[in-house]
Symmetry: C2
Subunit: 305 residues, 2 copies
């Protein structure tokens, strides 16, 4: 598949399926064995998760699983669980105590649409729900796979992964000295990279990938995670440059540590191209079956929003 | 065992083992496969979990597992995971956006000792760590048990359990009308009861309890969870009565919904006694082996702090 339109159609189709899956998880009515689902909490959880985004991480789960012929409700549930973790992290990062953002994708952030307490608790409940879903027999019939899914997501999103990366990012913003390249790479690998890599690992796990295949997908995930972050930094710089007529980055203005500020725009572009080639090299093992994941790497590298 | 000193010695011994287990989980040095453990985050997670408490929930895990001859590092890890969830919930509940408490057990709360962002993230990381620990092969060799542990904890602590109960509690505080008895019972069963019941279920799971035994322990957990909450409400009223010379409850003053305010002190005491008897009835199945859990019910009912 090299047709960009076909790729974007496929991406949108998976996003629709993830939306439907999340909608089904976040019903107002209590499930069997549940006492109650507080209406305001469910509403905030739905606000945090539904109605938006490219659903890139769930797409990676679905496409990695598809390499091994696995698809269906269980794969979508695992993908939706990972998306719950991504969405909870956005709700918490947006809080006044952290990035203090009022808007996300043009809509009020969770604490603006509800209140701070509800935004904190909705995030907590989404994180918890992710593990409930991964451990459910309906997600995967094999308990060994379910336990491995939980391990993978917990390691990627906890103190040595996403949450740890957010702590390092906040520390870098408030530090007197700008962080160096190694420090930025570490915090980005933890804050953004770990969950993207985890998406590929979860796809490999539900797909029953062999050891070599799983390793290749994890390395592919690491590589596109780096490309994702560099492309994001570049968008920030170029977006501001367009708006202000000069190359002043919004992130740089906030004291955010970005690599593009250290290595420059041209070098960032060169590194992104190199990462896309590396991603293809990790996919070589899969031959023609790897085409969608190869397109995904290009999509990430070239995205304009 | 009917000797109170023996019981309290046993409770203290398990608390020590849990402290050691939590200390071992929250090391500053990264584990194999981890990039980094941010120092400030680990420090806040340690502040939130170490150095205090009766460790009642972990004690229930340990003693329920002991009914079936199970003990050791795996049981303690499962018990410590559940305690991480309890401690994360306290760190988040203490935040300015919720109960806005500066002190807990005479020490500064996490957001006071660190800052709000760190308290939110330390809570997130503790919740995530709990699931990482439950899914680890070192906790239990059987992946089916590990997946069941994750399911049990996630259901007890999420939107239809502890987090949902906190949402209902905050809503009751800010509502114009005082909540009725049924409403209070629902929110307390979710906010406090679910995790106590889960402790018993986790003990049953790691102990390979049969269906009848597991059901009995879950019912025992529900019963002592109710007794725990009533005793807590009573302590609040009696503590204030001692301090102020009249029966004005601190919780009532804050608008907190308590049953003792609705049914009165004498009826509360009567219900607690009845619950202790019910707890013993659920333990009948275990004969003399149930003595420690029977003592635990009495300890909960009679506690003075």
């Amino acid at each position: 598949m090299t047709d960009a339109e076909t790729f974007e159609t496929r991406l949108a189709a998976v996003a629709d399926e993830i939306e439907t899956t999340l909608d089904g998880l976040l019903t107002a009515a209590p499930r069997p064995g549940e006492t109650a689902r507080p209406e305001r909490l469910i509403a905030a959880m739905r606000h945090a998760t539904l109605g938006g985004g490219k659903r890139l991480r769930p797409f990676l789960v679905v496409e990695c699983a598809a390499l091994f012929g696995r698809s269906g409700a269980g794969v979508l549930a695992a993908a939706a669980a990972l998306e719950c973790v991504h969405c909870y992290s956005l709700a918490h990062d947006d809080l006044p105590a952290m990035d203090d953002d009022d808007l996300r994708r043009g809509r009020p952030t969770v604490h603006k649409a509800f209140d701070e307490a509800t935004a904190i608790l909705a995030g907590d409940a989404l994180l918890t729900l992710a593990f409930e879903v991964l451990a459910a027999p309906s997600t995967d019939a094999d308990p060994g796979v379910r336990a491995a899914l939980v391990s993978s997501l917990a390691r990627a999103s906890g103190l040595a992964g996403m949450v740890g990366g957010q702590v390092l990012d906040l520390a870098a913003e408030s530090a007197d000295a700008s962080p160096g390249e190694a420090q930025i790479r570490t915090l980005q690998a933890m804050k953004t990279g770990a969950l993207i890599t985890c998406a590929c690992e979860i796809g490999a796990l539900v797909g029953r990938a062999g050891d070599d295949e799983r390793t290749a997908l994890i390395e592919y995930g690491r590589t596109i995670g780096l490309a994702f972050q560099l492309a994001d930094d570049l968008l920030d710089v170029e977006g501001e440059a367009e708006a202000l007529g000069k190359a002043t980055a919004k992130d740089a203005a906030r004291g955010k540590a970005t690599l593009v500020g250290l290595i420059g725009i041209d070098e960032t572009r060169r590194q992104i191209r190199a990462l896309v080639e590396q991603a293809d090299a990790h996919l070589a093992l899969f031959g023609a079956r790897g085409a969608v994941l190869s397109d995904t790497a290009r999509f990430i590298a070239e995205r304009r929003r």
